[in-house]
């Protein structure tokens, strides 16, 4: 009788405990391996209480709080964002966090998102994204399965790190994209086969509600740092841990796996373009890093601040590589214009640029830069029209000589020999020279002043000035590309010291 009463007591206590704690304790799960390579698919199998929804929370051991960064700009920005969005310097969240569930609607909703196009338009393209709910709207069941995220502050910081461009580029470093544009960072994931959502791709959730048996698999982020450990929770109860091993060459500050040879090849292609047209080297290298390399920067540092400092290597070293041929072998550098422009750009970037960035909200003018690029492109094409070519007699004659030389070189089986610059008269306001026997004249002072303006632009936006100078020389100065390009390269190289400043 005594034994029976003990068994009964234990049974009652057990039932009472099960009723008191969440249904999580009823979950049992197994992770398919303890070690994976980045980009591999992780599978979790097990069972939960029949009739319940499934929540598998995967969180990295690596955490981040605003106090962890020592980037000057990031400290200031995160403080400002924290005041606006409700998190503090101490609020800490896992850097990588995924919640795979049979019921995503518990945590937010799929909403329409407009993107692309200039900021004054609502967005050229339309897509969808998973918008996280506010903490108040999460019910008790949802809050219970969030793993290490417990408070409103942490949830607000988590939302910032997954929905704001700045948060994604500074903290999570992983984006769900349409084309090459990051829309948001994936966190709440559902079954791709049933949802068809682009952010669910690689995720499979199979749950038999009648028995509670489930199989969940999802593709890990290809650029997770080496040896990142993750905890897995099933319906709030810890189910195990796994580790992601590296795959490929890890760039510790680029925060990506990529063979440096691919980056070298890209830099060669950009370098060739840049030194052929004398413009847009920094911008093209930035585009290459964003599109191909996807340089992300370490956790806590905004991607742009790491990307910018590696771009200067191109705007400095590509002109150096080209300079021997342009200046020494072919003598195609219009030195008075180049020096005047270089000095102008230094004055503009070092002295005036400081005041421009201090007193003018230059970032709000950033889109005007794009308009300027468009105008320069149209103006360059306009230069090719027969009407303008007719006016540019010297260029027309030079083009004829170039074509004749190409034909001669081809017939004789040798390389084309370019014309040289022969100085006729040098002055502050007038530089007269002959190129391929044709007369050209330009005002170095005017290009010095233009250099000052470009220097301010360069300091404000962290770019070189070639894209403004080369079209200006070919349109305002009516100079041939063969003369404008070497000067454009001098200008870009002169803008390097200040354009590196974040």
């Amino acid at each position: 009788m005594k034994k029976v009463s003990i068994v009964l007591t234990l049974l009652i206590v057990g039932i009472a405990l099960m009723a008191a704690v969440p249904n999580s304790t009823l979950a049992a799960a197994k992770i398919s391996a303890s070690d994976y390579k980045v980009g591999d698919t992780v599978t979790v199998e097990g069972s939960i209480e029949p009739g319940k929804d499934l929540y598998v929370t995967v969180v990295s051991h690596t955490t981040f709080a605003p106090k962890d960064t020592d980037g000057v700009h990031e400290v200031a920005r995160l403080k400002k964002e924290g005041q606006k969005r409700g998190f503090t310097n101490e609020t800490s969240i896992p850097v990588f966090y995924y919640l795979l569930t049979s019921n995503p609607s518990k945590f937010g909703e799929v909403t329409k998102k407009k993107f692309g196009g200039p900021s004054f338009l609502p967005g050229l393209y339309s897509t969808t994204m998973f918008k996280l709910a506010t903490f108040d709207k999460l019910d008790a069941e949802a809050k219970n399965v969030l793993g290490p995220i417990k408070s409103k502050e942490e949830w607000d910081f988590f939302r910032f790190a997954h929905e704001s461009d700045y948060g994604i580029n500074t903290i999570t470093k992983e984006g769900a994209k349409r084309g090459k544009i990051t829309i948001f960072a994936r966190s709440i994931l559902g079954d791709y086969a049933s949802s068809g959502n682009y952010w669910d791709k690689g995720t499979s959730i199979q749950l038999d509600k009648s028995t509670g048996k489930f199989t969940v698999s999802f593709r890990t982020f290809r650029h997770t740092p080496p040896d990142t450990k993750f905890d897995v929770y099933v319906n709030g109860a810890k189910a195990g841990t796994y580790n992601l091993q590296p795959k490929g060459f890890w760039l510790s500050r680029g925060y990506r796996y990529m063979n440096p040879i691919i980056i070298t090849i890209g830099a060669i292609i950009v370098g060739i373009f840049f030194t052929m047209i004398g413009a847009a080297g920094g911008m093209l290298m930035a585009a290459y890093q964003v599109i191909v390399v996807q340089t992300a920067g370490p956790i806590g540092i905004n991607a742009a601040n790491v990307l910018r400092s590696s771009n200067i290597a191109l705007t400095l070293f590509a002109p150096l590589g080209a300079f021997y041929r342009y200046a020494v072998v072919e003598k195609r550098v219009a030195w008075p214009v180049g020096i005047s422009f270089g000095v102008g750009i230094l004055i503009g970037s070092i002295w005036l640029g400081r005041y421009a960035t201090k007193y003018l909200p230059m970032s709000s003018y950033k889109e005007w830069l794009a308009v300027l690029v468009l105008i320069m492109g149209i103006r360059t094409l306009y230069e090719l029209t027969p009407k303008v070519m007719e006016k540019r007699k010297a260029i027309k004659a030079m083009v004829k000589k170039f074509n004749e030389e190409v034909a001669r070189a081809k017939a004789e089986g040798r390389a084309v020999e370019m014309g040289k610059i022969e100085t006729v008269k040098t002055g502050l306001t007038s530089y007269h020279f002959k190129f391929w026997g044709e007369d050209f004249s330009i005002n170095p002072l005017l290009f010095g002043i233009l250099g000052v303006v470009i220097g301010i632009v360069s300091r404000s936006f962290g770019i070189g000035g070639g894209f403004l100078l080369v079209p200006a020389m070919t349109t305002l100065g009516a100079l041939p590309m063969y003369v404008a390009v070497p000067v454009g390269l001098i200008g870009s190289a002169a803008s390097v010291p200040l354009s590196a400043t974040p």
């Binding site: 692309g116 060739i272 052929m276 290597a313 070293f317 094409l381 590309m481």
Partner: protein, 59 residues
């Protein structure tokens, strides 16, 4: 400021690539006529414009 240093490997790759690209670009330039160079410049500027305004999102 130390936190803003570039990735060493990217930096080295860009230095080598940039320098080699510069050497090749300066040699290649004379293979193209004034007209072609201006077209390349204009197309590059248009590409940057479309990227800048996120009109082009696929490349």
């Amino acid at each position: 400021m130390n936190r803003y240093w570039p990735d060493l490997w990217i930096f080295i790759a860009v230095i080598i690539g940039g320098f080699v690209g510069g050497m090749l670009g300066s040699r290649f330039q004379k293979l193209f006529s004034e007209r072609v160079l201006k077209w390349v410049l204009a197309i590059t500027l248009f590409f940057l414009f479309f990227r800048f305004f996120k009109i082009e999102i696929w490349i």
